[in-house]
Subunit: 245 residues, 2 copies
């Protein structure tokens, strides 16, 4: 397909597509003459991923570029690894506090902490240690000067719980099967990446809500119901029916 068609189908202006190619988030089409190039469905898919990442997560193009670069350098045999590795190019909100040696020290501590978790796999893929360390340093800087790395334990536990829920929801997972949108495009990689950012958004909103409710209960003296001690998770059977459309 030609640029014009790609533009029309993706709903992105020609000039923007050219811009994306210039910036390296989108690969150039196959040129077979000085001013003739053709684009494939992979360009369309990539374009949709870029827009989603920008619309939903508001990621800067530079980060999107890292993600797509990760996607491009082939993990063909292993869509999960592919998606996940791409996803870990995601965060890097950088802006860590503290000086270099301190960051290194905390990162080391965090790695040790992560390794001690029951669900850690290997030692090499602990990229996030730096990210987590940066967050810890910010907490120390702005909130609790002596926040211990061990204070992450509860959060780690809950994060693992949340990842269970997220994966259960993935089509093919143990959750309720759902029809994926645009099946031809919704390959696992794209779904994994989008799922990560979309459910981050959902969960964030629910978290705000929970915090509000808890604080209201506390300040009005109302009873604060305990966090569910993991009841049998009743409704996994049928009851969850449809939604519209």
């Amino acid at each position: 397909m030609r640029l014009a068609e790609l533009s029309r189908r993706a709903g992105v202006p020609r000039s923007t597509i050219k811009f994306y190619i210039r910036e390296g988030v989108l690969s150039a089409g196959a040129t077979h003459a000085r001013n003739q190039a053709s684009y494939g469905t992979q360009h369309l898919e990539r374009l949709e991923l870029i827009r989603a990442l920008r619309d939903v997560a508001g990621l800067p193009l530079e980060v999107v570029a890292r993600v797509t670069a990760e996607l491009d350098r082939g993990w063909e045999g292993d869509p999960f690894a592919e998606a996940m590795l791409a996803m870990y190019a995601l965060p890097s909100r950088a802006a860590a506090a503290g000086d270099e040696p301190e960051r290194k020290r905390v990162a080391k501590e965090v790695r040790a902490f992560l390794r001690a978790l029951p669900w850690t796999t290997d030692n090499e893929r602990l990229f996030f240690a730096d990210e987590i360390a940066a967050a810890v340093l910010q907490v120390r800087r702005y909130l609790y000067a002596d926040f211990p790395v061990a204070g992450l334990a509860k959060y780690a536990e809950i994060a693992w719980l949340l990842s269970e829920a997220e994966f259960a929801l993935a089509p093919g997972g143990p959750g309720v099967p759902m029809r994926a949108r645009g099946d031809d495009l919704a390959e696992p990689t794209r779904r994994a990446i989008l799922g990560s950012v979309l459910f981050e958004r959902i969960f964030g909103a629910l978290r705000h809500c929970a915090n509000a409710m808890r604080s209201t209960r506390i300040s009005t003296g109302a009873a604060v119901p305990p966090a569910a001690p993991r009841r049998p998770t009743r409704k996994r059977v049928a009851p969850r029916k449809k939604a519209k459309r």
Copy 2:
């Protein structure tokens, strides 16, 4: 204190402070002559909050302005309500998908869902319903065309769990007591707001990590340890009463 001193103490350039005042994120000093104004500690605190919100959460100034406006219109008697209401000015990543009526319909559904939760307090403060509805619409648009509102249940449960952990950590809460940084400035409101954004960052990093580990385990066929079935949660000794202040 004069502008120069405020600037020096907060580590923010004079021109930036003036800019913040112009933009309405910071209130003007008390002017007692055409070119004389004095600033109080509340200006210093506000300035530090603004910087933290920008550095840590990367919030756009417009959102910071909403937060500070919320703070300024007095909830004096109730620091919790104050902090929380300010915090709910936070999100609004807007950019909802779908048309007006659809959004309204989903928001209504979400409100009903929230009201049915065991921990919802009143019906008025369901601001987040719109935010959550927007997120649901994005999930439907980009991922699962028929994602049901009921699919939020698991997430809501986990969010409540997380909010428990967050509140337990607050100084004065049942968590490990920690020394707050700069006690004179760390009034409850500031701590609540900063805590919200900081722990969002921490938890997000841990979540990425958990997802990575889970996906690695799945793709390599390794055992996937179950999310803790809520073990006795050892340190719950004194049954958790109200939080600080």
